[in-house]
Symmetry: C2
Subunit: 351 residues, 2 copies
DNA sequence: CTGAAAGCGCTTACAG
DNA sequence: CTGAAAGCGCTTACAG
């Protein structure tokens, strides 16, 4: 005797002695089903360990999910931001037919208003989910609140904003990233050597991640037996001239062995070192983008601590996909690996 | 006037004035279509830039693709091999409903026959594609040939076999991996220091990748200004006793500053260093698995050069998925990143 | 509160 | 060589 078990909903309907429409109703927790019927169906679903077929679901449904992505536009680190976008496109090509529509919204990292105005347009678009690089704190907070009100899910990449709980955060553990640099220093320095930690800042917000890096860095060093002097400075430099004169001055008074740039502008220091022909100073930075890479290649930057930009985008998209389409639970915090990039391994880094 | 364009095949059929069955025939390059009809349909397909809906395709098709994976079973590096399997499972959960069936075949890395016999069972299973870690060269070659005859696609992970062309190879560029270690040595050593490169071998085959690492390592050092003495040795050690007595002897005659273990057994040297209390010798190894990690954590291993095991599995599965289901072209060689893992970044490495 | 029916964009026998 | 029809496992009006 061969009982061919019917597929999903049909089989549930058969067992419960109802129509598939009714099954569908309880499956989606819609109203209009007698309590008793509902319970019966629910228990059958449990019994069968029923898993809906996502293909059939998407094919049958007219519903299109709209996701928006808010990301810094072409700027000096432009190449970097292509990363997440590429990652999203890659994800899209793999999950493409699932009825997803993506819109990209670029803002100027130096222009608070451009961020603000992009959020306004996004709010008008009736998006289901957004991916955002929260460069401006207050504006992001406001945006997040209004998203929540409208039941728009948001995912943060790159950094987080305190007290705001996104569907998911995808980015580094910056404290630990600082420790990684500290650990490298163990090999690069000897007891007594001087270190300069530089925060070359243009943007006013998201300084927090820089602080965390610094804390991790210092914590590691204080635990280790590398007793070196760490000097941490903010340089509010607009261009190379300011950096140069600052460093000229600083280095004339301090015998620095290593400079650690806590944001993505290590290339500025590298340029300085190249201009002056200073080969004896080690340089560690953050961020995988062309300007940094050029100096990594020619040896003026020794190490770059990075996260894969493409992966961030891919995972952010996946978070929304999992939430809306696959209806699976999404991890609240997804720390990305803290990668150590050198002139010898950067080539395969994007893979 | 609102012309609602019909969806894919239907619209093609309408334009070509044929039935969708005929369209389907040319879409799949099947016989039994008049040349003229075929050309007409083909041109319409091109015109529309028609892309089949993969969801509908999989849903309608009864075809189930069967993939087999041939991978070392629990051995001393056991934890490592969970990686690819987890990766495949992860991919499966994302592409699960696409009608794929996976079978796992484990062999003993020390037992050529176990590999051989697994390939035999796999060949009987009428698989569509296989993922294999080609530990034994001749046996793999034989297996690959017979796969080709049966039109079974195969993907290599971890290493390649010369003159055999898989659908895709997913693994490291070992020459470059050796260079990465060389580059690290630049920071860890000073001119004149001695380095010992160790190949602690049990298995007879796949030595090639070790040779390539060594070449890369030496090439880098010879290009750099770190003029150190490199001694490269094979140790055919079965256990700790042999390693210990070998190292006792070697180190009594040489003042080694750094040991580079080219395969995944750095933990054996680390154990030796720990036993002897030798903290002054730096140790670099390969492979992300528990035994190595323990010594990374306690400081006896300084750096591990790794590739993400999970990612390998994921990508290998994806290669087969792309080939069979999405019908997209697959990259012949997919080099994985050469990751530098330390005690401070290993935690987030698996993410 | 419930069900019959059409449809998503394909594939697969089957009939001619 | 070609087409009509059923079906994959769901969703979505619509009717009662």
């Amino acid at each position: 005797m061969k009982i061919v078990e019917l597929s999903g909903v049909k089989e549930i309907a058969r067992r419960a002695n109802v129509s598939i429409a009714t099954v569908d109703r309880v499956l989606h927790n819609r109203t209009g089903v007698a309590q008793k019927t509902k319970e019966k169906i629910l228990s059958i679903i449990k019994d069968m360990d029923y898993k809906p077929n996502i293909l059939a679901k998407r094919l049958a449904s007219k519903r299109i999910y709209k996701f928006g992505i808010l990301i810094p536009q072409e700027c000096s680190e432009a190449e970097y931001w292509n990363g997440p976008v590429s990652g999203i496109k890659e994800a899209l090509s793999e999950f493409g037919d699932f009825g997803v529509e993506i819109s990209y919204h670029f803002f100027d990292k130096k222009d608070r208003d451009s961020f603000k105005s992009q959020t306004e347009t996004m709010l008008k678009m009736q998006l289901d989910g957004v991916i955002v690089v929260p460069v401006f704190i207050d504006e992001t907070r406001d945006f997040a609140m209004r998203c929540s009100e409208r039941r728009v899910q948001f995912v943060f990449i790159e950094s987080e904003i305190p007290q705001i709980s996104p569907l998911s955060y995808i980015g580094q553990d910056y404290y630990q990233a600082g420790r990684v640099v500290g650990n490298l220093c163990q090999y690069l320095l000897r007891p007594g050597d001087d270190v300069l930690v530089l925060n070359i800042s243009k943007a006013p917000d998201i300084q927090e991640s820089l602080q965390e890096k610094l804390m991790g860095f210092e914590a590691f060093l204080s635990e280790s037996d590398v007793h070196c002097k760490v000097d941490s400075l903010d340089v509010d430099a607009k261009g190379m001239d300011e950096i140069s004169s600052f460093l000229d001055h600083y280095l004339s008074e301090n015998s620095v062995k290593l400079i650690y740039v806590t944001n993505s502008r290590a290339y500025m220091v590298a340029k300085y070192l190249e201009d002056r022909g200073f080969k004896h100073i080690r340089l560690v930075g953050n961020g995988y983008h062309d300007k940094n890479l050029n100096y990594l290649k020619n040896g003026y930057i020794d190490f770059l601590i990075c996260q894969k930009p493409l992966e961030q985008g891919y995972k952010a998209f996946l978070a929304l996909y999992e939430h809306f389409i696959a209806k699976r639970k999404v991890e609240r915090t997804q720390y990305t690996p803290i990668d150590i990039v050198t002139k010898e391994n950067y080539k395969y880094y994007e893979n």
